[in-house]
């Protein structure tokens, strides 16, 4: 029985005796592992990006909007009445607050108007909100402060700017304390929001101006519609588990208040976590697909190893015969050739891992995705390449072990 150290020495000697051939054989595995690692890392990066951007909208969040959602996904105004976009009211928001599991309810009214400051024009989204909006959306103030409820009720002419608006209108000076002009009026800036970046749907969430809801209703969006309607109600649940129940409770409550039946709703409750899940699932399938395609090249690498090992067994028939005559058992020969194949594939796997990580880093920095590489990936790459070595090295090694020593010694 051969010592393990002798087995390793013998395999490495055999591989070193023909370095070019060994390198070319390993190259197949290197390419395979590198592409698997790079593709899986890229896919995982894309997945993390999607999850992160959707989560940036706010966690445990339900968004109630007017109008019914068709099965196709579009939002339809309630038939007849001509008031499909005016179905949500402040009173609806106050009723939702009473439900169990609610942390914050933030009605808001969207408006679009030009914002002028510093001699510059900008067209952000203007959102009339209550102070709870920041709680519901997991948003923080970067500088200055948020307006309070008293200021909101008094319809004060104050605003909080999103990061993009602050940068565009006040590139060099601190915006807090400055003023902007909207819809003919002057508004004082009391705070600037932290940046949230793009949403999962590609919108710049920082291109926004927050103003007190009553201010927007009275001074910006004008007299269109009823005075107490809102364009959106954000509802934050206390936990992700409570989200599903709360969604049903909100739907039931609003149906009672609006006197509508199920299927004829004039509102839609969107559950962001289910959207997140769907999006994450899509990217995960994408990841598996990329990984699977790359795995095919690893398979090709394995066939390369088998091919070379078969050639090697044929070339070294006489050596195998001699080793058997000198007392090598079948198991010794099997292990020696098996180890050569596994060494080739694992060495290829390690080099491929390094190249794959480098490739993933290059691509993610190119596409500005987060780089996600875990020990799980590394282990998978090494384990998979070792498996390839065992699978494709087994047959040549078995052939070597089964050689008849008399025949083998006679071979020239």
């Amino acid at each position: 029985m051969m010592r393990t150290s002798d087995l390793i020495a013998s395999a490495s000697r055999a591989l070193r005796s023909n370095p070019l051939r060994s390198a070319l054989t390993a190259l197949g595995v290197i390419i395979g592992v590198a592409s698997v690692v790079a593709m899986v890392a890229l896919g995982a990066g894309a997945q993390a990006q999607v999850e992160r951007s959707i989560a940036s909208l706010g966690s445990n969040l339900l968004i109630v909007v007017p109008g019914a959602q068709r099965s196709g996904g579009g939002v339809r105004a309630q038939a007849g009445g001509g008031m499909g976009w005016d179905t949500l009211t402040m009173d609806d928001a106050e009723a939702i607050v009473q439900l169990e599991g609610v942390v914050a309810v933030a009605p808001s009214q969207r408006a679009r108007t030009q914002v002028i400051a510093n001699g510059l024009n900008w067209n952000p989204q203007v959102e009339g909100v209550t102070p709870d909006y920041l709680v519901a959306r997991d948003w923080r103030i970067a500088s200055g402060r948020m307006f309070d409820e008293t200021e909101e009720r008094q319809a004060r002419r104050i605003v909080v700017l999103g990061a993009t608006v602050a940068n565009e209108l006040f590139p060099n000076i601190e915006p807090v304390g400055q003023t902007v002009r909207m819809n003919g009026g002057t508004f004082e800036i009391v705070g600037v929001l932290e940046s949230k970046g793009q949403s999962g749907f590609g919108m710049d969430q920082d291109d926004i101006v927050l103003a007190p809801l009553t201010t927007v209703k009275r001074r910006i969006s004008g007299r269109r519609g009823r005075a107490d309607t809102v364009s959106q109600i954000s509802v934050k649940a206390e936990s992700e588990d409570a989200l599903g129940t709360l969604q049903q409770d909100v739907e039931t409550l609003l149906r009672q208040r609006h006197r509508t039946r199920e299927g004829e709703d004039d509102f839609t409750v969107q559950n962001l976590s289910s959207i997140t899940e769907a999006a994450a699932q899509t990217t995960q399938v994408f990841t598996y697909l990329l990984g699977g395609i790359s795995a095919v090249s690893l398979l090709v690498g394995g066939i390369g190893i088998m091919n070379i090992m078969l050639v090697s067994v044929t070339e070294r028939t006489r050596e195998i015969g001699l080793r058997k005559a000198l007392g090598a058992r079948q198991g010794d020969i099997l292990r020696q050739f098996g180890l050569e194949a596994v060494t080739l594939s694992v060495a290829g796997g390690i080099i491929g891992l390094i190249i794959g990580v480098a490739g993933a880093w290059l691509m993610t920095s190119l596409f500005t995705l987060p780089l996600v590489i875990s020990g799980w990936h590394a282990g998978l790459a090494i384990g998979f390449s070792a498996l390839v070595g065992v699978l494709f090295g087994a047959y040549p090694a078995w052939r070597a072990a089964k050689l008849d020593p008399i025949e083998a010694l006679r071979r020239e």
């Binding site: 051969m2 050596e319 080793r323 058997k324 000198l326 008399i406």
Partner: protein, 237 residues
């Protein structure tokens, strides 16, 4: 003195197409410890088959051969491998040294399969190379050695497992006459030092260098005699 090799009614059949060839057709002989003997015969006489069976590379079709207590016909593959490693020292016509290894590493090879520790292996291999007169060439590779030197390395390798029997197949076949004589002299010396040596050859001159000649033809032993003396009375013809 107990026999090292005891062969009784040994046969070996090969099937070649429809024909059955009796490579060995009922062979009986004994070889004692400490003997120096030659098995001679032309090609096709069955001497190579007999050598393969004695060396544990092949098994008989029928009959029984026991070597140092090992019943060759009854052994499994792995047991035969251990037998070859521990009991037999092979010397081949074409030396069969591994070209990428030094003389020392070649001699170590059987001890690797014997599971002997590296340090002990190295010391023993060096001592054996000294014994065959190659103490100064231990780190040479086979291509850097003459044919005679290569065969000496091979003989040192055959001695590495401390075998009960040295089995040499045409050991002088690839050497010039003078070198061949030196190698035969080496076998003679090893025999005087206690080794049992069996040479297999077609060359009667080589056989004459040993103490006993077993001559084969067509699968039978046709003569068995002490060289320079009378036929052995106990030969099973």
């Amino acid at each position: 003195m107990a026999s090292l090799i005891q062969a009784r009614d040994l046969t070996k059949l090969y099937r070649m197409g429809d024909e059955t060839v009796h490579a060995l057709a009922g062979v009986n002989f004994d070889i004692a410890r400490g003997e120096y003997c030659a098995i001679v015969g032309p090609s096709g006489s069955g001497k190579s088959t007999l050598m393969n069976i004695i060396g544990g590379l092949d098994t008989p079709t029928s009959g029984r051969i026991v070597i140092a207590g090992n019943d060759i016909g009854a052994m499994a593959d792995d047991d035969l491998a251990v037998f070859r490693n521990q009991t037999i020292g092979f010397v081949f016509q074409s030396f069969n040294l591994l070209p990428r290894m030094t003389a020392l590493e070649n001699v170590e090879l059987p001890m690797i399969y014997g599971g002997i520790a590296p340090k002990e292996r190295r010391e023993r291999a060096a001592a054996l190379l000294e014994r065959v007169g190659l103490g100064a060439r231990m780190t040479h590779r086979p291509t850097q050695l003459s044919g005679g030197q290569q065969q000496r390395v091979a003989i040192a390798r055959a001695l590495a497992g401390n075998p009960a029997l040295i089995l040499a197949d045409e050991p002088t076949g690839a050497l010039d006459t003078n070198t061949g004589k030196e190698i035969l002299a080496l076998f003679g010396r090893l025999n005087r030092e206690g080794a049992t040596v069996v040479l297999v050859t077609h060359d009667h001159e080589v056989a004459a260098a040993t103490k006993r000649t077993i001559e084969m033809r067509d699968g039978h032993i046709v003569s068995d005699r002490i060289n320079g003396g009378t036929p052995r009375h106990d030969a099973h013809l």
